[in-house]
């Protein structure tokens, strides 16, 4: 079904071959732009960039173990209205899954879009990445992917990838048109590209690459990674549950929150154009605060902290892809991702929903069935009467 193409890696430089591949993609007549993470010239920070000149890809590096933001939000902005040309976007699996959720909410389009996904080896929290680069310099990316793929743990001495990544059971980009394979691949010598959709096949065909069989050890390599991550994830759920199982504990867990709402801004699937928490609804009368304080003896300011997090959990946990950008964005080191993933796991199971799995599956809160959840209203009981 899926077509796989092979590129021979020259001088054991996988990244250079990858950049050459991107260049050849951008040289296609119908592809007008490439969205790809690049090292910025002024500082070694890796950010998504839009490239229209095939010669301007020397700093492209989708394998750098960092993603300061989830690019789904950016791609949503780029595809909000039809473009005259096709964009190719190089994304991580969690970015693709978040983007698929946004498309379902009519906040993005897949027309004239080619998604190139990379197998994801994980990324460091923003603060750690800066320190990693200080230590490893320009060799960071190469050392990182080589070590991860050879099973070294931690991949770089002294640093562990973000917990979100360690707990992520979706290391392979499911919704991509073309997958850049890493697991089970000898990256020193070869690169495999897998077309998963007709659009992807068309692009691979246009590039005239020799077809190949996917490496035998790939399936097993992926399974090993997924199993490890699920084990880590379930342990993380257990720990988080113990820390949040009552409202008192949850309050302690979130005590450092200053209502900056960075987690919401960083969240790729928090979909409202204007969040209710910044509207007049929460512009309380000054006297209201005093009345609340009177009733409860004292209240903490800013108010509505737990309310905010529980509301966000109810609004977006079914769409949470676990990218961990909420934790990344928290100025007070609250493990937001752990909380959201724990709850999301339950809510997604309840509706048999997996965000990003398919464009055809509507978000669970946007649909209903006439007969469902009879136990909620005791209808099974009534029928017996």
């Amino acid at each position: 079904m899926a077509t796989t193409a092979k590129i021979n890696v020259k001088h054991q430089d996988f990244l250079a071959s990858l950049q050459a591949f991107f260049k050849s993609v951008l040289q296609q007549n119908d592809i007008g732009a490439l969205l790809v993470p690049q090292h910025l010239p002024m500082k070694d920070v890796v950010m998504p960039t839009i490239v229209t000149d095939p010669e301007a890809l020397d700093a492209a590096d989708p394998l750098a173990p960092t993603f300061p933001l989830n690019a789904a939000t950016l791609l949503s902005r780029l595809t909000r209205k039809p473009l005259e040309t096709t964009i190719a976007a190089v994304l991580r699996p969690c970015e693709i899954r978040a983007f698929i959720e946004l498309v379902k909410l009519k906040q993005g389009r897949t027309e004239n879009l080619i998604i190139i996904g990379t197998d994801c080896l994980g990324a460091y929290p923003n603060n750690d990445y800066a320190r990693v680069v200080e230590k490893e310099g320009s060799e960071t990316t190469r050392k990182f992917y080589q070590n991860v793929l050879s099973g070294k743990n931690p991949p770089l001495e002294g640093f562990q990838v973000a917990r979100a990544c360690q707990a992520c059971e979706h290391p392979v980009p499911e919704g991509a048109d073309i997958v850049i394979e890493l697991f089970g691949v000898d990256t020193e010598h070869e690169m495999f590209l897998e077309a998963r959709t007709p659009a992807g096949e068309k692009l691979l065909a246009a590039l005239n690459l020799p077809s190949a069989k996917e490496p035998d050890q790939r399936k097993k390599a992926i399974q090993t990674v997924v199993n490890e991550r699920i084990t880590y994830r379930d342990q993380m759920f257990d720990e988080t549950r113990k820390r949040t199982e009552t409202i008192e504990k949850l309050t302690r867990y979130l005590a450092g929150c200053v209502n900056c709402y960075n987690c919401r801004v960083a969240c790729p699937v928090c979909y409202c154009r204007e969040c209710v928490f910044v509207t007049d609804v929460f512009d309380h009368e000054p006297s209201q605060y005093l009345r609340w304080a009177d009733r409860k003896k004292s209240i903490k300011l800013p108010t509505d902290t737990i309310f905010y997090h529980l509301t966000r959990l109810s609004h977006i946990s079914t769409a949470c892809v676990g990218c961990g950008q909420c934790t990344n964005a928290c100025p007070n080191n609250i493990p937001v991702m752990e909380l959201f993933r724990m709850v999301a796991h339950k809510t997604q199971q309840a509706f048999d929903y997996e965000p990003g799995r398919s464009l055809e599956e509507p978000p669970p809160l946007s649909v209903f069935k006439e007969t469902e959840f009879p136990d909620l209203t005791g209808e099974t009981e009534q029928l017996n009467h």
Binding site: R241, S298, T305, I306, F307, V343, K346, A350, F373
Partner: protein, 139 residues
């Protein structure tokens, strides 16, 4: 002192509120622990209304609307059912007993059923005891 629960009820204008009205005009007696909030449709009860009620110390929350097929806005009650399902997955993870959140369908002519439902719910919550939020500082 005996524990008297406070229950917040979001009731739809067309069915359950009318049933409450009928219970009143029929002089049916039910416990005064319930605080009715009339909404046009249960389909407008955002999960955050329920969450806010719990965080402010409600011992239980009732959402009650028209029977399936009877919604005056065609399908608002079906949407409400999904949201209550969602909340039933979320709130117990933070120690709220599932019994504290209830969804019922009570039609406009069901005054007796309304009174019975409230009586039953109040006694159930009375037995369950006060919400964990009472007397605690919730940020």
């Amino acid at each position: 002192m005996d524990f008297e629960p406070t229950i917040i009820a979001f009731v739809c204008n067309w069915c359950t509120y009318t049933a409450a009205d009928l219970a009143g005009t029929s002089r049916l007696i039910y416990p005064a622990n319930i605080r009715l909030i009339r909404v046009m449709c249960t389909g407008m009860v955002d999960p955050k209304y329920v969450i806010k009620a719990f965080l402010e110390g409600a011992d239980a929350v009732l959402v009650s609307g028209c029977h399936p097929g009877d919604c005056h806005y065609i399908n608002g009650n079906y949407k409400a059912r999904r949201r209550i399902k969602l909340l039933k997955e979320i709130l117990p993870q933070f120690g709220f007993e599932p019994e504290r959140l209830k969804l019922t369908w009570i039609g406009a002519s069901d005054g007796i059923r309304f009174a019975d439902t409230i009586t039953e719910m109040v006694s159930e919550i009375r037995a369950l005891g006060p919400s964990q939020v009472r007397g605690k500082m919730v940020l």
